[in-house]
């Protein structure tokens, strides 16, 4: 079935609890709620949904616009509610309560950026209006962490017993796995709710979340909630958030199934169930629940986007193969490459090649054999990938791993050379092993750290790549203690903190490997699987505290990056001057300054590096050998700008270094694989060198790029098969060449030769 609707940015139906953004608050926190609404709320909260509907329905046409808005909202008529609030605000422009409630409507429908200005307007009318202040914090928590946390701390100090503020604080603590502290706040919230006659259901749901984080899957709070309200699906739905941020998709699906069982009209739960089934590769199950979600709530953008993605997946092709590995004997793991049909042919050889290498490498390095088929998805449309990962277009990620299924941008999804897709695939494949080896129990910093470390150590791109802004953050001492490093990923407090956290985690893993041995990383995964946290795992495996590990990291950074960190400002200034001199072609200046910069930090090959400028300067001065040397150093340290790689390959070929030139050319495929000339050249090089398997991969990729003259490529493939001793395939391919070009003499000759009819 084709899903043919336009995603609209509209108010959605009422959600009694929200996932991921997670900070919507139920209507009972409304401090000035109309008594008639309260009695309807009570029916709803006790699970008497029909009674609640009958109760709200007449109020949707109440004389008070504000009451009509609330009743419409409760009935799921959010567009009506929006209109009533608009009119109510026109009628009572000086009333902060109505603006705050209108903001809550937006907040509950995943539109925090629309909600925040309404809270701010309410606060202009009454700066101390707590309902608006809390709403603003909730809205900001979905966007910038630091400002929201500051406001939350201020408000909590002023209103220590406010249930809603206690819940917001508890959620943050649970996200950072500070379960005991969260529990303490939840107990305070319970007491306060009882005292103030506030429905405790949200508190129960967070209690369940705390129990889940303690690995207690049988929380007594579930039954307590269902006794209070038998249809309270949120008791399962709200805790899912804490599974998801810890990569536990199977467990999330189990909870979501329970949520829709007790509350079949919980559309958000159906939607999340569909999205997470898709992450587990259950496409049919995903479709079923997404369609149910859409039937009840056609305005949920996550539902709509994911249904559209399912349509898009019909344009994809599953290519099934195997990846061999050795662990207590030789084995083979099923591998499915899900690629867009337009690029499957040219990408598959590379995806397969790298995935096979990764499976072999990581199985041995992490002592873990894949237990399920590995699924690798590449999306040529970045927004499809974004929907696949977080159900919302526009995210800046390159890849995501859900366990045995990983999804990433295809190289064609971004401008040529924009990212090293080979490294991204390697990074994601490392996640598969760390996530599954620890049964999805490793902390975020650890899985990211291992993936970054593996990129630097065993990946297809040489060198350690630390962006300039990360060096700056290290200099500014912005690194987090390892025990709190997850917060740098989950709740960043400054713009590039996620990147900084990736690099910090990578450096920690690299340091552990160098100082204690690589096996310690594997041992830590075992500890995480045993439900140990970072502090316990570090103590158990490395024999030190996390504080000591932090100090070790400082020492390691001093050893490895001390020079550039201590001279960071000078180095950056010199690099800027090199680029300026490069632009104005002052070659001698470029050489002098680049040498200075490279004495401080030679391994920098990223944007604005000095090596390319140095190469150009030597070329400008006619010193070709020095130019090649500069470019070779850049390449050996992970430089991967396609045009410069082409230049290097060309220069190496001119210098008679054919094998090295071919190696450089091949590396371009990990950055810009859809280049017809490149595959043709590589194929011919490999053929000439007798590397027929390499030649076959290149010619097959070339054919997938739909070259102007396919007959020539079919002939090359036929010749390659002939060299590999596979005359049957050789004959089939030569016939395909002749099918395209019946008068192709060289193909005719090969056909005659293959059929023994060449007399």
């Amino acid at each position: 079935m084709q899903f043919n609707i336009t995603a609209k940015r509209l108010i959605q139906t009422l959600c009694t609890g929200l996932l991921l953004t997670g900070y919507a608050v139920a209507e009972e926190y409304d401090p000035n709620r109309d008594a008639r609404l309260l009695s309807c709320d009570n029916l709803y909260n006790r699970g008497n949904i029909d009674g609640a509907i009958d109760c709200y329905a007449p109020l949707a046409n109440d004389q008070s616009l504000h009451v009509s808005a609330e009743a419409s909202w409760a009935l799921g008529k959010t567009r009506d509610a929006n209109e009533y609030f608009r009119r109510a605000v026109d009628q009572q422009p000086g009333n902060p309560h109505i603006r705050a409630r209108w903001g809550r409507l937006f907040l509950s429908t995943h539109q925090p950026s629309e909600a925040a200005p309404l809270f701010q307007e309410a606060l202009q009318l009454d700066p101390d209006y707590l309902h608006a202040q809390t709403g603003l914090v909730a809205a900001l928590l979905t966007q910038s962490g630091s400002e929201a946390r500051r406001l939350l701390a201020e408000l909590s100090a002023k209103h220590p017993q406010d249930v809603e503020l206690l819940l917001l604080q508890s959620r943050l603590l649970l996200e950072s796995r500070n379960v005991d502290a969260a529990d303490e706040l939840l107990d305070r919230a319970l007491a306060s709710a009882e005292e103030n006659n506030i429905t405790p259901l949200d508190i129960y749901a967070l209690k369940v979340s705390a129990d889940l984080l303690r690995d207690n899957d049988d929380s007594p709070w579930v039954q307590k909630a269902l006794d209070y309200s038998p249809t309270y699906g949120d008791i399962y739905f709200i805790p899912v958030h804490y599974h998801l941020i810890n990569y536990r998709y199977r467990e999330s699906v189990a909870l979501l199934k329970k949520a829709v069982k007790v509350q079949p009209t919980h559309w958000s739960a159906h939607s999340q169930l569909g999205i997470n089934l898709l992450r587990l590769n259950d496409i049919a199950g995903a479709k079923k629940h997404l369609e149910i979600a859409y039937s009840g709530d056609p305005y949920d953008t996550a539902t709509v986007n994911t249904l559209r993605l399912l349509d898009t997946l019909e344009e994809f092709k599953d290519i099934e193969t195997n990846a061999d590995y050795t662990l207590n004997g030789d084995h083979s793991a099923p591998l499915v490459m899900r690629l867009h049909k337009d690029e499957a042919k040219y990408l598959a050889p590379y995806v397969e090649d790298l995935t096979r290498r990764a499976v072999k490498t990581f199985t041995s390095r992490y002592d873990f054999a894949l237990e399920e088929p590995l699924i690798v998805e590449l999306f040529p449309n970045h927004d499809d990938f974004a929907v696949r990962t977080v159900s919302t277009p526009g995210v800046g990620l390159l890849g995501v791993t859900f366990g045995y299924l990983l999804a990433m941008d295809s190289p064609s999804g971004r401008p040529p050379g924009d990212f090293h897709w080979g490294s991204t695939l390697w990074h994601e494949l490392a996640h598969v092993f760390t996530i599954e080896k620890s049964d999805h129990r490793m902390p975020r910093w650890f899985t990211e750290g291992v993936s970054v470390y593996e990129e630097w150590t065993t990946g297809p791109l040489r060198g350690r790549h630390i962006p300039i802004d990360v060096l700056q953050a290290i200099r500014e001492e912005k690194l987090l203690p390892v025990a709190d490093l997850d917060s740098g990923f989950v709740r960043p407090t400054y713009p590039n903190q996620v990147t900084v956290s990736y690099m910090q985690a990578g450096l920690i893993c690299q340091m552990i490997s160098k100082r204690w041995g690589h096996d310690k990383l594997t041992e830590m995964l075992v500890q995480f699987d045993l439900r140990k946290d970072t502090t316990q795992a570090v103590r158990s495996v490395l024999g030190i505290s996390t504080e000591q590990l932090d100090r070790e990291l400082q020492n390691y950074i001093s050893e490895e990056l001390g020079q550039v960190i201590s001279q960071f400002d000078d180095w950056r200034e010199i690099v800027t001057s090199v680029n300026r001199a490069h632009q104005s072609k002052q070659w001698q200046t470029v050489i002098a300054l680049a040498d200075q910069a490279n004495d401080i930090y030679p391994e920098y090959v990223g944007k604005g590096n000095t090596w390319i400028a140095l190469h150009d300067a030597y070329v400008g001065l006619g010193q070709n050998e020095a130019a090649v040397e500069a470019l070779e150093f850049w390449y050996e340290n992970g430089g991967h700008q396609p045009d410069m790689l082409h230049q290097l390959a060309h220069r190496l070929r001119d210098a008679g270094q054919t094998a090295k030139s071919t190696e450089v050319l091949e590396s371009i495929n990990w950055v810009h694989p859809n280049n017809i000339d490149l595959h043709e050249k590589l194929g011919k090089d490999y053929f000439a060198a007798g590397n027929y398997k390499g030649a076959l991969r290149e010619f097959t990729s070339l054919l997938g790029l739909n070259p102007h003259d396919k007959s020539v490529v079919y002939l090359d493939i036929a010749r390659t098969y002939q060299q590999l001793g596979d005359n049957k395939r050789a004959k089939r391919n030569v016939l395909q060449a002749l099918e395209q070009a019946p008068f192709f003499r060289e193909a005719q000759d090969l056909l005659l030769e293959l059929t023994g009819d060449s007399s």
């Binding site: 000339d677 395209q740 008068f743 193909a747 059929t755």
Partner: protein
């Protein structure tokens, strides 16, 4: 102005297989005003190369007329095109316009020294030409607008751009010339380049250029007309070198086998894969055998 003295020969009509001799063809190549010396030189060079290629395969050098530089004035072009029907009666008429085109008052203009020649004027002149097959190649900016005005059942029109709005100087011509001078355009490897192959190569190469340079393509070439496979624009190899020595019966056999191959390919989806390739193999071996006889002068 040169007079045209066409050489007539009997025609072997084909679908993809050229006759021993090229059908009587008159080719006119006109290069327009460059606007600066670089473009002037480039257009001149392109036009000269196209004319040279056409002469290599023409039955008579006089069947190819090159008009360039200051000579490419409106009255010269008009007179040339108007007098063609009087002086010749070719089977195929081919016109190449190389240069800049522009839109002025909703009117296409081919930029030449003195007053430009408009699309309407060109169309009127071309409509007088009675050749049963015509190929008009307008490799200029804004040329796409001419597709509608020049359309005729006996005519293939190739333009460098999709419409009038694509106004930048075009790269298409460079690849057009490449297609005529390089065997790579000959997709079926029959040693003859058809109008369709000419276009396909130039279009594909132009696209590759912009893709490789990571640029948004400002030009999108178009081809219209039913006869694109039947108009030959260049040939090379044995077919060119031995055109007078090939036995007609060999060409007839080659034609017959080729027809059988085309017929088999048309039924590909209805035939079992192994059967298809077995039959194809037999036909290809037969064709290879004929080809060898042609190559060896048999």
């Amino acid at each position: 102005m040169k007079t045209l003295t066409p050489l007539w020969c009997s025609l072997l009509l084909y679908a993809g297989i050229p006759a021993a001799s090229l059908a009587s063809t008159v080719t006119v190549v006109i290069s327009g005003l460059g606007g600066n010396s670089d473009y002037d030189e480039q257009f001149d060079q392109y036009a000269t190369t196209i004319a040279e290629e056409a002469r290599r395969v023409a039955n008579s050098p006089q069947d190819v007329i090159l008009v360039r530089g200051e000579a490419a004035k409106k009255n010269v072009i008009s007179s040339l095109l108007e007098n063609l029907p009087v002086n010749s009666n070719p089977e195929v008429f081919t016109l190449y316009l190389i240069g800049h085109g522009s839109m002025d008052n909703q009117q296409y203009k081919f930029n030449i020294p003195g007053p430009d020649i408009t699309g309407a004027e060109l169309t009127d002149a071309l409509n007088n030409i009675k050749a049963p097959k015509q190929l008009i190649v307008v490799s200029t900016s804004s040329s796409g607008v001419l597709q509608e005005t020049l359309a005729a059942s006996n005519r293939v029109v190739i333009t460098a751009t999709k419409n009038a709005k694509e106004r930048n100087a075009v790269r298409f011509t460079e690849y057009l010339v490449e297609a005529l001078t390089d065997t790579a355009a000959d997709l079926d490897k029959n040693e003859s380049i058809s109008a369709q192959e000419l276009f396909s190569y130039a279009q594909s190469a132009t696209k590759s250029y912009y893709d490789n340079e990571n640029l948004l393509a400002p030009e999108h070439a178009r081809i219209e007309g039913e006869l694109a496979d039947q108009i030959e624009v260049a040939r090379y190899g044995v077919l060119l070198e031995k055109k007078d020595d090939i036995a007609p019966e060999l060409l007839a056999r080659r034609q017959s086998v080729s027809n059988q191959i085309n017929s088999l390919k048309a039924r590909k989806d209805d035939v079992d894969e192994d059967t298809y390739f077995d039959t194809l193999q037999d036909l290809m071996l037969e064709l290879a055998d004929i080809q060898r006889s042609i190559d060896s002068g048999g």
